[in-house]
Structure formats: C-alpha cells, structure tokens
C-alpha cells in the first residue's frame, strides 16, 4: 500500500502579511487599516491603546515609553506570526509608539483582517494580551507627586 505523507507549510511566508513598527512619531490608525485592507477580508478589527488620564484614582499627567527596539520588533513579529497560525489572518499590523505621550494619545495600534469577524476579534485580542506580557517596552506614569514604572513593583 502506498502511503503518501503530505506536509502542509505551517509557516508560510508572512512577509507581506505582517507590518510591525515602532515609532516616536504619532501613530495613525488609518495607516494600519490601509495596510490590512484585503479583498478577502470580511472583518477588520482595530485595537487602539490610548493614554488614560488616571490610574487608581490618581491623575496622570503624561506617559513615557521606552523600548529595547530590536527585540521589541522581533517579539511583536512573533506575536503576529503566532496569531496567523492560530487564526485565518489575512493581514496584521502592530504599531507601537515610544517617547512622551499626552493624555488621549495613541500608544499602540493593532489591526487584523480575517475572512470572518470572530477570528478577527480573537486574533486582535490575543495580540494585545501577549504584547503586554512579552514585548520589551516599558511605560512610566507621571503624576503630580512623582513618576512610577508601571508594574515594576508588586
């Protein structure tokens, strides 16, 4: 009996499907949406992380973000690749800002295009959750009475 084993490429070339950027200039959700636009997409989900004006009831003046850039880019790319393996992602963009951000400014944009909305929501949610756990980017919150590196201490 002839048994034929077929190997499926589980990690196809994702170069033109994924756009990862770190920038010290204001981010544009439109640029991310334009990147992920795809004729086969039925659902595009955009997550925008913005600078909130308070933490635990204390007024926040501004945030400062810094990144270990080469590794942050690599970890963000890994997240997009993992998402593309778990869900039918047609295109994905992850853009993160560094530097000083005022209240309301955009810290991160994650855009995902999938054939159907359920996968798009799930893939986008996965991406921001994992980004927050693994990407070497740090934010410092500034209050009236001082500044704190977020999550550094219990």
């Amino acid at each position: 009996m002839n048994s034929k084993i077929e190997f499926k490429k589980i990690n196809p070339n994702l170069e033109n499907k994924i756009d990862i950027q770190i920038s010290d200039k204001p981010l544009s959700e439109q640029i991310c949406l334009d990147f992920v636009s795809h004729p086969g997409a039925g659902g595009i989900v955009n997550f925008i992380g913005t600078v909130r004006n308070q933490t635990h009831g204390k007024s926040v003046i501004k945030l400062e973000f810094e990144a270990y850039v080469p590794m942050a880019l690599s970890e963000m790319r890994k997240i997009a690749e993992r998402a593309a393996q778990r869900w039918p992602v047609q295109k994905m963009a992850i853009h993160h800002r560094i530097g000083t951000l005022a209240i309301g400014e955009i810290a991160v944009v994650i855009s995902v295009a999938c054939p159907h909305r359920k996968a798009a929501f799930e893939a986008c949610s996965f991406a921001i959750d994992i980004l927050k756990e693994t990407v070497p980017i740090w934010k410092k919150e500034f209050f009236e009475d001082g500044a704190v590196w977020v999550a550094a201490h219990p």
């Binding site: 992380g49 973000f65 810094e66 990144a67 270990y68 080469p70 590794m71 942050a72 690599s74 993160h96 810290a107 991160v108 921001i128 980004l131 927050k132 756990e133 693994t134 990407v135 070497p136 980017i137 740090w138 934010k139 410092k140 590196w149 977020v150 999550a151 550094a152 201490h153 219990p154």
Partner: protein, 78 residues
C-alpha cells in the same frame, strides 16, 4: 562584559549599562545572581528576565563574551 538596562533597571544601576566580570561558560543564572549581588533592589521587582541576543534566555543558557545581554524588568507595553 557589558549589560544593557531599560526601564527601572536603568534607575537601579544608575545608567543605561552595567559591567560584570565575564567567567568562561557562565550561565544566565550566574549572571542574575551577580546582578542581584551588585544591586539587591532588583529583588523587590515583580520579575527580572535576561535577554541574550534579542531572545528571552533560560537560566541554564551559557553566555558567550560576544553576546548582547539585556536586563528585562517587568514589561509594560501596550
């Protein structure tokens, strides 16, 4: 051996890099112990990871002199 620092690690060591003596075949664990020995304040952090050449490193990884080593205090991107 030069070790780069970010976030609160920069505040603790007082700069964007710190120096440690390199011992042939030393592991990431040995490096962490040396860092904690030099700066006990790292003990109070939620975590301290070590990146070697842009990858998170396990404790048993052996460090080479040419490796790029970075202290990764708790991350807070997004």
């Amino acid at each position: 051996m030069k070790i780069l620092t970010f976030g609160i690690a920069k505040d603790i060591v007082g700069g964007s890099e710190m120096d440690l003596p390199y011992v042939e075949g030393m592991t990431v664990l040995a490096l962490k112990k040396a860092v904690l020995g030099a700066y006990p304040q790292f003990e109070k952090l939620n975590s301290l990871a070590i990146a070697v050449n842009n990858e998170y490193a396990d404790d048993d990884l052996q460090i080479r002199l040419k490796d790029e080593i970075v202290l990764i205090p708790p991350v807070s991107g997004g």
